[in-house]
Symmetry: C2
DNA sequence: TGATTTCGTGACAATTATTGTCACTATTAT
DNA sequence: ATAATAGTGACAATAATTGTCACGAAATCA
């Protein structure tokens, strides 16, 4: 095999194996150890971060930095990748230890001039906004680790001003609207709960030997089905004006409930959990006179009660 | 220069130049044209998408696919990049023509086994949620292009059920909460306006010769200062219960107005534009009895009027 | 301690790959 | 037609690559 190709293959091979000896690779590539040594030195010069130790159980290692073999990206793809990573700058906390900024710099630096120009031109013209929050979430890494490794955590959690310790087993973390959430099994409540990560004031692996649940099959994609054990369901129906429709369109969690007529007006229809009546009451009051709730009666009476309470404040 | 190094340099050079002739490169690298031909063929075999045309003004070209030279990413960086791009899957529309999915696949495929394992483990455990909408925004590309190239567009825009043509000059596009928005100069209103991209029903470059404004200095980062020419400002003060504080924390646009006391209660204080009273009224009504507005009087009376209207519906 | 394993380096001849040259073909724009 | 360009094949000259051997240095282990 000609040297030029061997070097490229070698690059991929050393990335695959984390650890190896010169002899081992020499045999694999069918060259002498001397040649392999020379090749490895060349790779080193080309920037592959190799590290070696002598002695038995010694050998070569690729340091944590990995060389990504040359990948063919189309210009569009490269630009899309750039902006995807660029969007992460809005997050004050991330579950990845290193700053994604460093990845971005490398990526940017390695791209050819005109792609870079293109990006510069677009940099202030496209954005994926995420509201920036003051709240920091310092325990994202450990929460994620616990989710991946199925471990139990002991956390201090602030809820309504109180602080309490809880044993939880995270099933993942997700960012929504600039805040991080952690759905987890709560050993205190013996059920699944969602925790807001910025309210977690400490987190450490459980040392009291709480037996982890087998939650490998529960993940962010299917957690809904484990959560939504809502018992009581009730039917909602509400009329919407044109403006009401527009306001509802901008609201995420009622996507499928919204129906629009030709003239722009519409209605909301669908089942809602009884427990959330308070939430829906507030929502519809917020819509003001752009919405008229027809059903369920409980919701209407709840809204009236709420009215009375609020009104009393302003008299 | 040894061949192996020459090939790597060549790879980067052909990426820099879009177009070149064999002779040109041969001179640059100090080899014969024959050798350069052989090298180019090798590059081709290695996956660089080269294309050639004979004849005067012919020559070699690299097709739109670009080879990314080997980059050293740390494992953390690669993982962060993966999830950044992975998050784009939530968007039903993107301003980039190709699917970012293809970039993701390539990236994933080229990573070594254990990084891939790590990603697989994390895939269902981390997410950057963006509400998925039904609304498609098919004109993102042209809006972006117009913003970058300072061009005027003619759009059909739906506003409150009506549809109207407008000449606009976009200054950028951004996604927020799953919806795309386009701040732009509106030649109809002779001022800056924000357009919701899914309400744009057609868009094409202006052919009537509308003279573009010089908006090179206006971009997503500083547009606020051009927009916020709100005239009337008024002072807001509202008390919040513990729960009220928590609800406000989850709301983005009043970040700096929120103050929290030791005991978890708090207050909102700060200037708000007179025009937005209607909006704030709805918001505070939505907070129910967790908030008590003290100032301004106009807001309180607005809220009362709104109450009356709503109440009349349910009696 | 001494045997063993491993990386690391230098020298040199044998072997191979690489290169340049030349002669030629094919295509295309002017 | 002419000139510019890619593309191919053959072959000798050249230069890079390779293997071998000899040796050093560091670490582990019995």
């Amino acid at each position: 095999m000609p040297k030029s190709k061997r070097l490229l293959e070698l690059m991929m091979t050393v990335n695959r194996k984390r650890k190896f000896t010169v002899k081992e690779l020499a045999q694999e590539f069918g060259v002498s150890t001397r040649t392999m040594l020379r090749d490895l030195q060349e790779l080193s010069e080309l920037g592959v971060p190799l590290y070696s130790e002598v002695g038995p159980h010694g050998g070569y290692q690729v340091l944590k930095e990995r060389i990504l073999p040359p990948i063919a990206f189309s210009e569009e793809e490269a630009v899309a990748m750039f902006f995807a990573v660029y969007a992460l700058r809005h997050y004050s906390s991330l579950p990845f230890e290193t700053e994604s900024a460093s990845a971005l710099d490398k990526f940017y630096l390695h791209m050819s001039g005109d792609v870079r120009d293109r990006i510069d031109q677009m940099k202030n013209r496209v954005d994926f906004v995420t509201p920036t929050r003051q709240q920091e979430s310092p325990f994202l890494s450990i929460l994620l680790e616990a989710a991946v490794q199925q471990k139990v955590l002991l956390i201090e959690y602030e809820s309504r001003g109180d602080e309490a310790c809880r044993h939880i087993q995270p099933i993942g973390i997700y960012a929504n609207n600039g805040l991080w959430f952690c759905p987890a099994y709560c050993f205190l409540r013996k059920d699944f709960r969602i925790f807001r990560c910025d309210r977690i004031h400490s987190a450490s692996f459980d040392t009291e030997g709480t037996e982890p649940m087998d939650l490998r099959h529960v993940h962010l994609g299917n957690r809904e089905s484990f959560f939504r054990t809502e018992k009581a369901i009730t039917g909602l129906y509400a009329d919407l004006s044109q403006k009401g429709v527009q306001m509802c369109e901008a609201v995420l969690w009622l996507g499928s409930h919204l129906h629009v007529r030709e003239d722009g007006t519409g209605w909301l229809e669908g089942p809602i959990p009884q427990n959330d009546l308070a939430f829906y009451a507030r929502f519809f009051i917020g819509l003001g006179n752009e919405a008229t709730v027809k059903q369920p009666a409980e919701l209407i009476s709840y809204m009236k009660r709420l009215f009375a309470e609020i009104m009393s404040k302003y008299d």
